[in-house]
């Protein structure tokens, strides 16, 4: 596969799109078969105007992309702007499908039925958490607050019931997409024969109506898009900075104990994707004063903190029977 990457960070979205097209005209020496478009939050809410400009030039080819926090490409990293990658592969059959309907799982199931791939790979783009518009966001916070309030002092059964209702609401409003569930839906639909890759989009800054997924030159907001590459001998390689999960809960526990410094263990109470309590306490209260610094490094840590050049990382591991 041949490709060329074009980038612009002009203030105006239309100027940026035109700037990218100018570069493409001078640098492109092949007929592209696929366009990948990624843009930072700088253009939030204005992505469609950029996609329209690209469509005029490359409307005939499939396109996929998303809003991101930054882009890394050979010898450079940019945290502000938009990148268009044009690719060519004569041997591959490339398609992009997308969906934006009520319900994260329902959308994934419908799209999975539409996507057909015999050989090759499927690359999914979907948000990990989608922040809706101001009205829906206010509703989300109000509902969360309400369920959290009525859970206090309620019986465990009632707590589970309320958490379940809130989880269903989040699912119906496409607020949370659970990567293992989404990937599994596509994997089952293709009989586990081809690799399914998921790009879970999440911004470090919270903005309304973000992140956005792009599918065939359309901004489908918090929908799901699937890039299907039908080609012989496509291989997906998996690696992780974290250790492999064990086959049983006990095995996973021992892996976590071995690889990380466990500060404290809690007994968690979940319903779907909602965490109800940790050791019977509200989750925020349970972890509020949890601070740890390895004894031998305390002095060194304080020295860095004084200079203001220390990054603190917290990690919470959930060992589940999933």
């Amino acid at each position: 596969m041949r490709s060329v990457t074009l980038f612009s960070n002009k203030k105006d979205p239309k100027d940026a799109a035109r700037h990218i097209l100018e570069q493409a005209r001078s640098r492109l020496d092949f007929e592209p078969d696929l366009a990948l478009f990624y843009a930072t939050l700088k253009y939030n809410g204005k992505y469609q105007s950029m996609l329209d400009i690209f469509q005029e030039e490359y409307g005939g080819i499939p396109q996929i992309g998303a809003s991101v926090d930054g882009v890394i490409y050979p010898d450079d990293m940019r945290m502000d702007g938009a990148a268009l990658v044009l690719c060519e592969d004569d041997e591959a059959e490339i398609r992009v499908d997308g969906i934006k309907e009520k319900g994260a799982l329902e959308s994934a199931e419908k799209l999975a039925k539409r996507v057909k791939c015999e050989k090759g790979a499927i690359v999914l783009h979907f948000p990990l958490v989608h922040v809706p518009d101001p009205l829906k966001s206010a509703e989300f916070y109000a509902k969360g607050y309400y369920y959290s309030k009525i859970c206090k002092g309620a019986s465990p059964e009632k707590q589970k019931e309320f958490a379940g209702k809130f989880a269903n609401y989040c699912e119906k409003e496409n607020i949370f997409y659970l990567p293992p569930t989404i990937l599994n839906i596509f994997s089952e639909q293709t009989n586990h024969k081809i690799p399914i890759l998921g790009i879970n989009v999440l911004h470090t800054q919270v903005r309304f109506n973000s992140p956005s997924i792009f599918c065939n030159f359309e901004d489908i907001g918090g929908g799901i898009a699937a890039l299907t590459i039908e080609k012989e001998n496509v291989n997906a390689v998996y690696d992780d900075i974290f250790p492999e999960k064990g086959n049983t809960v006990e095995e996973t526990r021992s892996v976590v104990d071995k690889e990380f410094k466990v500060i404290r263990k809690f007994k968690a109470n979940f319903e779907k994707n909602i965490l109800i309590s940790l050791d019977g306490m509200p989750p925020m209260q349970a972890v509020k004063d949890l601070i740890y610094a390895p004894e031998e490094k305390t002095e060194e840590t304080l020295k860095h903190l004084e200079k203001g050049d220390y990054n603190l990382t917290f990690r919470v591991s959930w060992v589940t029977k999933f």
Partner: protein, 117 residues
């Protein structure tokens, strides 16, 4: 070389929240400036900078700091030495994403170093 530095300053200036970016000589004399229009408030900031740059750089050198951020009126000002003889100043609005802009500033400094260093 000048064109490359001008282009890179253009890119820095195009970032959301950046009001101006100025490449100074270490004695406080501006070499290159990117901003829009004739802005009085910016002139005031520039006068302040001209007076302060030498002292700030001296302080940074003593403390071993790579860059420093000041709040002046309602602006955030990032001062970062780019080469042995130049310093890059980025003026941001209060609500700008400082983390993002500092990463982009590092990139600009790397390119200025390649050109002048």
């Amino acid at each position: 070389m000048t064109k490359a530095i001008e282009e890179i300053l253009d890119e820095l200036y195009d970032i959301d929240g950046v009001e101006a970016c100025i490449l100074y000589r270490i004695d406080g004399v501006p070499i290159l400036l990117r901003t829009t229009g004739n802005r009085e408030d910016l002139l005031e900031t520039m006068f302040w900078l001209e007076k302060q740059i030498k002292n700030v750089l001296g302080g940074m050198n003593t403390e071993g700091l790579k860059d420093t951020v000041f709040f002046f009126r309602n602006k955030r000002i990032m001062i970062a030495p780019s080469t042995r003889s130049t310093v890059l100043v980025t003026i941001m609005v209060e609500e700008a994403n400082q983390q993002l802009i500092s990463l982009e500033t590092l990139r600009v400094i790397r390119i200025i170093k390649d050109c002048l260093g």
